[in-house]
């Protein structure tokens, strides 16, 4: 996977127990916005490098019939989502 660190829009679900579940995210390619579904979250880890609390979601992204693994990053302090690796 390649490091991208691209800010993205994410559709996510906040469960009653506080867990966050990304459902889909938007990517702009050739000025065209694509909505990419997240079919599964394979792994979730929390890091606080340099004191910055961050959640990393290793997800299976689906676009049409194609599936690939991406890593989404949620910055807890800034409330921002990034496409961390893809």
């Amino acid at each position: 996977m390649k490091m991208l660190m691209k800010p993205i829009q994410v559709y996510a679900l906040w469960r009653e127990d506080g867990a966050i579940l990304p459902l889909a995210f938007c990517l702009t390619r050739d000025e065209e916005k694509q909505k990419i579904a997240v079919s599964a979250v394979k792994n979730l880890r929390e890091e606080h490098l340099a004191g910055r609390k961050t959640l990393y979601f290793d997800c299976v992204a689906v676009l049409g019939r194609r599936e690939w693994i991406v890593c989404l990053r949620y910055d807890i302090a800034e409330h921002r989502w990034y496409l961390h690796k893809a």
């Binding site: 490091m3 991208l4 890091e47 490098l49 340099a50 004191g51 961050t54 961390h84």
Partner: protein
């Protein structure tokens, strides 16, 4: 016997900036190249706040002027400081340290003392616990630390200075003679530049030389502070690891080295008034008043002058600070221009002045006005309200960098 840890972040500002940079997708680890944290201002000044190991090998020192550092190391990569990141990283480290001991004393933004006495049953032998703590900080927070272990705060602090980075060192009482005494005298905890110069003149070159002096002679030559140093040289220090918030400050000051010489007294007054406004804001923020005012300046030839005066009445208001400081400036003003100006308020307390009532001054009205100004500044930034004199004096430009960093860079409120 006590067990004290001293945790010291290696090249703190640079390590934190590097960790943040990598976290935000950067590929270059600043710690692996000759780099330094420094804010270069428009006049080409600015000083080195932290440097990498390779920059250190090239001869770059902390506190050095940027252009001098660039001469020593032309490839030096300058990283701008990021204070919110530093506070966040420091807080995260202190929170993590709190898991190891209830007694954590914050010694500075990147240094902490931990009282680990009696913690062996939870974390194992001190060296093993320190190794685990060091590795955990590296893994979880992304930066390296040195941990010094000793029976006192002074020995722990000196142990952490032995060899860097990412090391654990011990300086137990029985290791003083072999590990501490062969060190040069400037290695001694709390021995500043002037003290070291004095000791070298006396022929005291090593810590061991200091330790072997007679305490009577040390007291005669260097007074009370000399005795403290003599105790440190012998590994003695009975100060406790202080828990809780840091003690309130003994003084607050603000100084500026101007890029161009201030040629007239009026220009100096403008800067001093601006500093007085700042200090009044800080006093009010901390709920303190001061009774001692010190004005210091350096003239064009870098000669230093200062004047200090103690007042019976506690000072808080900006106007009162100006009333006291401006006559002092008049006394000191050298005539050939001023390069550096400093205003310091000391002997801080929580006492409030009541003399205004006796001499017909409506201090309650002034207090309400100052309270309102303070509330506005706190909410909308320090530049939202200022005195008419400071408005176009240009003094604020001298402090622009610091103010932006302190208050999030905007005069307008942030909306979430």
């Amino acid at each position: 016997m006590r067990v004290i840890f001293h945790v010291d972040v290696n090249s703190a500002f640079l390590s934190w900036s590097a960790a943040e940079h990598l976290l935000l997708g950067g590929t270059l680890d600043y710690r692996t190249v000759p780099s330094a944290v420094a804010k270069k201002n428009e006049s080409g000044g600015g000083i080195i706040l932290a440097k990498s190991e390779s920059a250190k090998k090239a001869g770059v020192h902390t506190g050095e002027v940027v252009w001098q550092a660039k001469q020593k190391c032309p490839d030096l990569l300058l990283v701008p400081p990021d204070y919110p990141c530093y506070f966040r990283a420091s807080h995260a480290m202190k929170t993590l340290l709190g898991e190891y001991s209830p007694a954590v004393e914050s010694f500075s933004i990147d240094e902490c003392f931990l009282d680990m006495t009696g913690q062996e049953k939870f974390f194992g032998p001190p060296v093993k616990a320190a190794e685990a703590l060091k590795d955990r900080i590296k893994k979880e927070l992304g930066f390296t630390v040195n941990i010094g272990i000793g029976n006192t705060k002074a020995t722990a602090k000196m142990a952490s200075e032995f060899q860097k980075p990412d090391r654990v060192h011990t300086l137990w009482q029985w290791e003083i003679e072999t590990k501490l005494w062969p060190q040069p005298i400037d290695f001694l905890f709390m021995a500043g530049r002037r003290t070291v110069e004095k000791l070298l003149r006396l022929g005291v070159k090593l810590v061991g030389d200091m330790a072997c002096l007679s305490p009577v002679l040390v007291k005669e030559l260097m007074g009370k502070n000399g005795i403290t140093l003599w105790h440190y040289a012998n590994g003695r220090d009975d100060s406790l690891v202080l828990e809780g918030p840091p003690p309130s400050p003994k003084s607050i000051s603000k100084s500026v080295t101007v890029p161009h010489v201030l040629k007239t007294q009026k220009e100096c007054e403008d800067v001093l008034i601006y500093i007085a406004e700042e200090l009044s804001f800080q006093l009010r923020e901390k709920g303190l008043t001061a009774v001692v005012v010190t004005v210091a300046l350096k003239d064009r030839d870098r000669c230093y002058f200062s004047h200090r005066q103690k007042f019976s009445d506690p000072i808080l208001h900006y106007k009162d600070i100006c009333d006291k400081a401006l006559p002092m400036l008049k006394l000191l003003y050298p005539g050939n221009g001023v390069k550096y100006l400093c205003l310091c308020l000391s002997e801080l307390s929580t006492k409030r002045s009541l003399n205004g009532l006796l001499f017909g001054r409506d201090i309650f009205k002034e207090e309400r006005l100052e309270e309102a100004v303070f509330a506005l500044k706190k909410r909308y930034g320090k530049q939202c309200v200022t005195t008419a004199r400071s408005l176009h004096s240009g003094a604020d430009q001298l402090f622009r960098h610091f103010d932006e960093e302190d208050f999030g860079g905007g005069a307008m409120p942030r909306f979430y």
